[in-house]
């Protein structure tokens, strides 16, 4: 079997189908073409205007032209039904939204399975700064303007704060939902009619840009602004509900400050996205690089070779550091165990695999093994990443169609990835999981 199968091709097309130019670039390019066309049209119009002037200077043709204009207006009124508050065009909504740069709303995320995310009130100051007030009382401040974006989680009841610094990740703009809504085209937006909510008549629009996202937007015809937005992530089995919108909210700028209030106990997490030098390291290096429990593999009888390396995250275009333990077994299988701060804890629940998890094994130590919905791709990228960093250990030409991935959730909640190039027996798999030991400080 070849490495490239139909599923792989479809995955690539799927990735291409997600590409979007930024709204600024699209608007700029469209404006450029419009300008070019208008210049062309105005050149042509000079000739046409001469004919129009001739018509209007002639009393007979002038009356005929007036009659045509009146008929056209009457026809238009008849068939558009005249002025109607509930008949808003999508383009009007976009135009109205464009008048605002900041907004706040209530955000609820409902999942069909897996852990639920608490409801929060989100204040979007701009594409790089937002504040989230979560119903559990915590406050999140996200500031992605600088080279090293910062997220701050404040827990006022416990006087605790967690600061996450994303070194080398920014500056970034976060295309939030209103920004996505602004991109809908009139032509591909379906009208849903009206519904009544809290005594107000709302007009609905639906837009399904692809098979992954299904948007429904309910608009107040008077303000032409969204009142409710529902975004169904069809593949992830979750729906995001936004309501209680307030555009151009008033909030003191200090509410977006990432400075920690006095008296808070601060925990700092560093996630390093700077280019990573691939090199062999020791188990102690893993320990010092991770902000959670780190693991190493104890020597097993069937392990012929074991190499520990740091490499750029193969799933993130090599941004961010991943610690990989490469194992060559006596039957010629290449196995990789990966650990990183991206797998830091159950925040990983945000990732798609845990939503579609399938428990396949539970080791006596309490460690659990789950399948990964895109395990073959995950394995391919890790094996490729390892092969590039250490071609002597693994040659990518030997990539096997049998490759697979298992996600390991240790009994303390730490998550590791396990990739193997070829099939492994359950006994060997279990033996390997049981051989994972915490790296203690020297």
């Amino acid at each position: 079997m070849s490495e490239v199968d139909e599923k792989d091709i479809k995955l690539r097309f799927e990735a291409i189908s997600q590409f979007q130019s930024s709204p600024e670039v699209t608007a700029r390019d469209l404006e450029r073409v419009r300008k070019m066309l208008n210049e062309k049209t105005s050149g042509l119009r000079t000739g046409e205007q001469k004919i129009w002037r001739k018509i209007m200077n002639n009393p007979i043709t002038k009356l005929a032209a007036a009659a045509v204009i009146i008929i056209t207006i009457l026809f238009g009124l008849k068939f558009t039904g005249g002025p109607d508050v509930a008949n808003v065009a999508w383009a009007d909504v976009v135009e109205q939204i464009n008048n605002y740069t900041k907004y706040k709303c209530r955000q609820r995320l409902v999942r069909e399975q897996g852990p639920q995310i608490p409801t929060m009130r989100v204040y979007h100051l701009n594409l790089s700064q937002r504040r989230q007030e979560v119903e559990d009382g915590s406050i999140h401040i996200i500031d992605m303007r600088g080279t090293d974006p910062i997220t701050v989680e404040l827990y006022p009841d416990q006087m605790k704060a967690t600061v996450t610094k994303l070194i080398g990740f920014g500056p970034k703009k976060d295309p939030h939902i209103i920004e996505m809504v602004k991109r809908f085209e009139q032509e591909s937006t379906e009208r849903l009619g009206t519904k009544k909510k809290n005594g107000k008549i709302l007009q609905g629009f639906r837009h399904k840009p692809n098979k992954y996202n299904d948007f429904t937007v309910w608009v107040d015809p008077k303000t032409k602004l969204p009142v409710e937005i529902e975004l169904v992530h069809t593949q992830r089995g979750q729906t995001i509900f936004l309501d209680e919108f307030e555009f151009d909210f008033e909030l003191d700028p200090s509410a977006f400050s990432t400075d920690i209030p006095e008296g808070y106990e601060v925990k700092t997490i560093i996630q390093d996205y700077r280019p990573v030098e691939s090199k062999e390291i020791s188990a102690q290096d893993i320990r010092s690089g991770l902000n959670h429990t780190s693991y190493t593999v104890e020597k097993l009888s069937w392990i012929e070779k074991l190499t520990i390396m740091q490499i750029g995250d193969p799933l993130m275009k090599k941004m961010g550091k991943v610690y990989v333990t490469g194992i060559l077994s006596d039957d010629g299988n290449h196995i990789i165990i990966d650990q990183s701060n991206m797998h830091s804890d159950y925040k990983e629940a945000f990732m798609e695999w845990i939503l579609k998890e399938q428990l396949v094994m539970e080791a006596p130590s309490g460690a659990k093994l789950y399948t990964h919905p895109r395990g073959s791709d995950y394995a391919r990228f890790y094996l490729k990443g390892f092969a590039e960093a250490n071609p002597e250990f693994f040659d990518i030409k030997n990539l096997s169609e049998e490759r697979f991935t298992r996600m390991i959730v240790m009994s303390d909640g730490t998550i590791l990835g396990l990739v193997a190039n070829k099939k492994m027996s359950n006994e060997k798999l279990q033996e390997l999981i049981e051989s994972l030991v915490e790296i203690k400080a020297n």
Binding site: S2, R12, E14, V33, T41, L44, T151, K173, M316, F350
Partner: protein
């Protein structure tokens, strides 16, 4: 001529963003889309066939695909992916969505450029624009079963081309 200009301006207003998106996806280059979009509309302005087109959007859409693949065949330098789409979210929520790396996307699009025009258009519409076979058939004036069969053969051909590339 003036009528054609108006028709084209209307097309720009109603479908300009869709055509822009299509060009972006087929080139994976945000920096060249503007030039290609301008080139597309210049071609439409100079096209008498556009006047006769029953569905101006379908005509422009086909022209955009031809233009993008023409650009793909002619260019000599390697492409850079759109940064916005290739970056990964800090919480890793979409990390797996970013797994398919730029070079592999380039490969599949380059392979698609070697398909026949009809097969290529069907593949792009079905897999990149996620249109159903019924919608594609309606747009191209063919039968849905034919579109399905053509797409299936095109996928087999793409596979061959990609294996050969490797």
């Amino acid at each position: 001529m003036i009528e054609r200009q108006r028709k084209i301006l209307k097309l720009l207003d109603t479908s300009g963003a869709d055509l822009h998106r299509l060009l972006a996806r087929l080139t994976l280059r945000e920096d060249v889309v503007g030039d290609l979009l301008q080139e597309l509309f210049i071609r439409l302005c100079n096209s008498r066939a556009f006047d006769k087109a029953e569905n101006p959007f379908a005509y422009a859409h086909r022209a955009a695909m031809n233009l993008a693949f023409e650009w793909r065949r002619n260019r000599k330098t390697a492409c850079q992916p759109l940064e916005e789409n290739c970056q990964s979210a800090p919480n890793g929520s979409s990390a797996l969505g970013k797994m398919i790396q730029a070079e592999e996307l380039e490969q599949v699009l380059n392979a698609a450029s070697k398909l026949t025009d009809l097969a290529r258009d069907v593949v792009v519409m079905h897999y990149i624009e996620q249109k159903s076979y019924e919608e594609i058939a309606q747009r191209l004036g063919k039968k849905p079963q034919y579109m399905r069969s053509l797409c299936s053969k095109a996928m087999a051909r793409l596979r061959e081309l990609l294996v050969r590339q490797k």
